[in-house]
């Protein structure tokens, strides 16, 4: 493995264009136009579809990088470029410094066997194989002996909590269990770069949250580099170290969850963060005025820099006395304790 200063994944000006003679059309458009926007416009005018336009970013080793966007924004296409399920039309994609756009088919197979793992939205399980056979398949193609590969598969099956289901077929499992199989299969060959394409989107909300939590636990244990695709801003904010937001094939903002929520790059990103309970994702430090010479009151509710805004608000509210509640005519009907108000609004302790 390379040093931690080289990024695990590097994307430089990645383009994916669909349509006839996309390669030459892209080269021509890029040579004629200064900005990617006008080049994309020309491609569209020719009836081609620039699904990913000029995407550039780095993913650090061990980072959980989330790509978020609505359907049709090009996020699934982009992850397929990075995993080389699609051959990128233009640009450079490096994994641990190696340009995989130019890798030979043989080298790609080797990379996939040793380094890359992928989880799919609709699981992509082989219907004719049992859970254990599905999970062990990446080892089977490498020619690992049956006993060894089943033993290795058993480890990951236990890791994802599917012990006892080894001989079931995918059709006999629930959606959540199927995705656990998908996750186990992608982990069996000890990958160092892990691609997850909307892994939890097809699941119902309760299962989704459960799997998100387990996913974070696995990530804490394995510390792989992760590219995670989602269309759900809350999922992105919950999981990500950094988020890239995509729209119409372009990456419009890359930043930490707090950046996205508090400093949206444009109206599109702002529209997303509207639905988000900001108090849960931003910390006190993001609204704090730094320095020691500020004037402040006598009360000290005990705020700390890394508290979420929700938690900080609750602490501040505790300083208030109970306040009255009246009918429209002004008759007193009761009182509210502001601390209770804050607690009720706060869905969970951040």
């Amino acid at each position: 493995m390379t040093g931690s200063d080289t990024p695990a994944i590097t994307c430089r000006n990645v383009w994916q264009v669909f349509g006839n003679n996309a390669d030459s059309a892209l080269k021509e458009a890029l040579s004629r136009h200064e900005t990617p926007e006008t080049a994309a416009l020309e491609l569209r005018g020719k009836g081609l579809i620039p699904a990913v336009q000029d995407a550039s970013f780095d993913v650090k080793e061990g980072e959980l990088f989330v790509i978020m966007g609505l359907s049709g924004s090009g996020k699934s296409t982009l992850i397929r470029c990075i995993s080389h399920l699609l051959h990128a039309t233009g640009g450079e994609i490096r994994i641990d410094g190696e340009n995989i756009v130019e890798a030979s088919p043989k080298r790609l197979i080797e990379l996939r066997r040793k380094k890359l793992g992928m989880v799919f939205q609709h699981f992509g399980l082989f219907p004719h194989m049992t859970v254990a056979e599905n999970v062990a398949y990446p080892l089977r193609v490498q020619g690992v002996k049956k006993k060894q590969r089943l033993a290795k598969a058993q480890e990951v099956i236990d890791l994802v909590g599917l012990g006892g289901r080894e001989t079931n077929y995918p059709r006999e499992l629930s959606g959540g269990q199927r995705q656990r199989v998908g996750i186990a299969r992608s982990l069996v060959a000890d990958c160092s770069v892990w691609f997850l394409d909307e892994p939890f989107s097809a699941l119902d909300p309760l299962i989704r949250r459960q799997l998100q939590d387990e996913f974070l636990e696995i990530q804490a244990k394995l510390k792989t580099t992760i590219v995670f695709i989602t269309h759900d801003i809350n999922e992105a904010l919950k999981l990500a170290d950094r988020i890239a937001i995509m729209r119409d094939g372009k990456v419009v903002q890359i930043g930490t969850p707090a950046d996205i929520v508090l400093r949206p790059a444009d109206d599109y990103v702002r529209e997303f963060s509207k639905d988000v309970a900001k108090g849960r994702h931003a910390h006190v430090s993001s609204v704090m005025l730094p320095g020691e010479h500020h004037v402040y009151g006598a009360d000290d509710p005990g705020l700390r820099q890394d508290m979420t805004l929700d938690a900080a608000l609750a602490r501040c509210m505790e300083l208030y006395e109970p306040v009255p509640v009246r009918t429209p005519e002004g008759k007193l009907v009761g009182v509210v304790n502001p601390a209770d108000l804050a607690a009720a609004l706060q869905v969970e302790q951040g």
Partner: protein
């Protein structure tokens, strides 16, 4: 043509062409009868080219045929020398594995019947052919399917080729094969392999295309090589669809092996049917036909279990037990088992069927003849040669006069005006055209009118491309001199398709409304679809003897099934929400059927019609055996004379007609589907 709908414009255009032809036909006789001098000797050219080509590949073909001789002889030797108890027990064991007790019982009863009928040796000969041709077809078909999937560039041409192979009538294959391989069972073997390969190729390709993209991607990301992806992930994932292909391949091979018996040279069960039919021993031929049906059903149901989604597992130990018992029984009774061919338990039955049949036909001669003659004189003949020639004093009781023609046209015109006033110009004009066609008769339609009319219809169905294709293809038939025969074929299959559409539509409707009726109709449909084409000829021959009417009935019996199925399916599968919305709006049962279910079912019904047309064309050629005129007869004649040119040309003409009909109906179905947003 502003303000006119596409349909109305096309109908008016065709009507104008028809009227013009009608007016000019007395002064320009070449309008009706395409002058022989204009005909290109295309049939001879095709014959010459084909013969040159065939001579070129003949050595290779002959050595291939010599090569195929060994596996065929081996299969034949094994099947006919294995003691019959062992064959029965082995089949039963296989049936147990595939379908449990029910299937095993079916195998025992079915094979028991075959044994008792005395047709065991002939059946084994047929099976030996199938046993060699099916693996061949599976390998060829599977290979084509996989290659077409691997190389998208050849997918389109391969699919077109498969389409053509399926529309070219079976007999048309036989003539060039006969020249190539000489008389003998190998021709049947190869013909059946060629005929059975396309369904396999089609299903393999379809199955592989339908594998979920994420499954393919998962195989890639697991680090599999292309071959590993294909054979470990994609093909097993497509297993069910591929098994459908295997099932269809088996059925097609069996059907073709039996049809190939017309070339003779092999003592198989198809030959037996043909022989007894020629000797008018209908009891025996029915018995032999039943044996074929039993094999068809056994093969279909046993291989059909492979296509089921979740198969029950049946204990293989039971199968081994059955097999061991078979070996034991064969060993113990080795000396005392009778030769299987000497059983003839059903001969008395067959004889009494013969006697009963003669008694029945002579007792009901009047009714039967009246039925046959009525349909012939009042329906088929007028459609074929037109009212002006079919209406004669000795059948209809009066002669057709020009005044009557005028009345007919006036009535048609009046109806057209009424419809036009009510805003349905296209329908009105089509009524007028129909009146004209009834007056003239399909076989005597002026050729310019047919070209224009078909072109106009194709234009409405599928736009300019289809119209051009239609006119050009019909033009080749015209120039090749097969025009009259093509019209005759068109007439008979058209009449049969029309009858199927009316009757099949009605049965489908009733089946959709009443589940009780469907419970009766469904097994009948299943049965009719399993029976090889050939067998349909036996019952109609028994009652109505050789002739066009028998052929007409046989075609209907075979081609009506898809119409019934698709009509019912279309009517039944209306989404529940639409039914609920209609119910909530207060629609009666009849309104629901008319306003909601029928429009929704239209694309499905059109597809049923499409299948019915293709089935009718397929049967038309087989029906030539019992006396039809037209292309089918030409193909059959060519087979007898080993005339490759005629065989190929007539086969191609037949395929052209089927292809055009297929594309047109598909075009209409597509348009309806789009209109419904499906």
């Amino acid at each position: 043509m502003a303000g006119l709908s596409k349909g109305a414009a096309a109908a008016l255009f065709a009507a104008a062409a028809g009227a013009l032809c009608l007016l000019l036909e007395s002064s320009l006789p070449w309008l009706v009868k395409f002058p022989a001098a204009w005909v290109l000797p295309a049939t001879d050219w095709v014959g010459a080219v084909m013969e040159w080509f065939l001579a070129l590949i003949k050595p290779a073909a002959r050595s291939f045929s010599a090569l195929m001789y060994y596996p065929m002889e081996a299969a034949n030797y094994v099947l006919s020398n294995t003691p019959w108890p062992l064959v029965i027990f082995a089949t039963t064991a296989l049936a147990w594995i595939l379908g449990g007790v029910r299937m095993a019982l079916m195998a025992v009863v079915g094979l028991g019947f075959v044994l008792a009928s005395g047709y065991w040796p002939e059946s084994m000969n047929t099976l030996a052919l199938v046993a060699v041709s099916v693996p061949l077809a599976l390998i060829i078909g599977g290979g084509i399917g996989i290659l077409a999937n691997e190389y998208p560039r050849i997918r389109q041409p391969v699919q077109a080729l498969l389409d053509v192979m399926q529309t070219v009538p079976t007999f048309a294959y036989l003539t060039p094969l006969l020249v190539l391989f000489g008389f003998g069972p190998v021709v049947g073997l190869i013909a059946s392999a060629i005929y059975a390969a396309p369904p396999m190729a089609r299903n393999v390709l379809l199955g592989l295309e339908r594998v979920e993209p994420e499954i393919k991607e998962a195989a890639v990301m697991s680090g599999g090589t292309r071959l590993q992806q294909l054979f470990q992930c994609e093909i097993p994932s497509a297993g069910q669809q591929i098994m459908v292909g295997v099932n269809q391949c088996l059925m097609a091979a069996l059907s073709m092996v039996i049809i190939a018996a017309v070339i003779g040279g092999f003592d198989d069960i198809g030959w037996e049917v043909l022989l007894t039919m020629r000797k008018a021993q209908f009891g025996q031929s029915l018995l032999a036909g039943l044996v074929i049906v039993i094999f068809a059903i056994l093969i279909d149901r046993m291989s059909g279990t492979l296509t089921q989604d979740r198969r029950q597992k049946h204990d293989p130990r039971v199968a081994w037990g059955i097999l061991a018992l078979g070996v034991l029984v064969s060993a113990v009774f080795w000396g005392s088992v009778q030769q299987p061919g000497t059983y003839a338990l059903f001969n008395p039955v067959a004889d009494s069927v013969d006697r009963g049949l003669s008694a029945f036909t002579s007792a009901n001669a009047e009714v039967l003849t009246a039925l046959k003659n009525n349909v012939m004189f009042y329906v088929l003949l007028p459609i074929r040669i037109g009212l002006d020639q079919a209406v004669l004093p000795f059948t209809w009781g009066f002669a057709w006069t020009p005044a009557m023609s005028l009345v007919l046209f006036a009535a048609g015109a009046a109806a057209a005006v009424v419809f036009a006033v009510r805003g349905q110009l296209a329908l009105g004009v089509m009524l007028l055209i129909a009146a004209g066609m009834l007056e003239t008769g399909i076989s005597q339609l002026p050729w310019p009118f047919v070209l224009v009319g078909a072109g106009a219809l194709a234009w409405v169905a599928g736009g300019r491309g289809l119209a051009i294709l239609t006119v050009v293809l019909l033009g080749t038939i015209l120039l090749s001199g097969l025009w009259e025969r093509a019209l005759l074929s068109l007439y008979l299959s058209g009449a049969a398709v029309f009858a199927c559409a009316v009757m099949g539509g009605a049965i489908g409707l009733v089946s959709a409304v009443s589940p009780g009726v469907w419970r009766v109709v469904r097994p009948v449909c299943d049965m009719l679809q399993t029976i090889p084409l050939f067998v349909f000829l036996i019952p109609v021959l028994m009652v109505f003897q050789i002739g066009e009417f028998s052929a007409f009935l046989a075609i209907i019996a075979y081609a009506i099934v898809p119409m019934i199925r698709y009509t019912r399916h279309g009517l039944v599968s209306t989404p529940d929400e639409m039914i609920e919305a209609a119910t909530a709006s207060g629609a009666t049962r009849w309104q629901m059927l008319k306003d909601i279910r029928a429009p929704y079912a239209a694309p499905s019904i059109l597809l049923g019609l499409n299948q019915t047309i293709l089935y009718a064309f397929a049967m038309l050629v087989i029906a030539a055996l019992i006396g039809t005129t037209g292309l089918g007869q030409s193909i059959y004649l060519a087979l007898g004379q080993a005339d490759v040119g005629l065989g190929i040309s007539a086969g191609a003409a037949m395929a052209i007609l089927a292809l055009i009909a297929d594309r047109m109906v598909q075009g209409f179905a597509e348009e309806r589907r789009k209109a419904l947003g499906l």
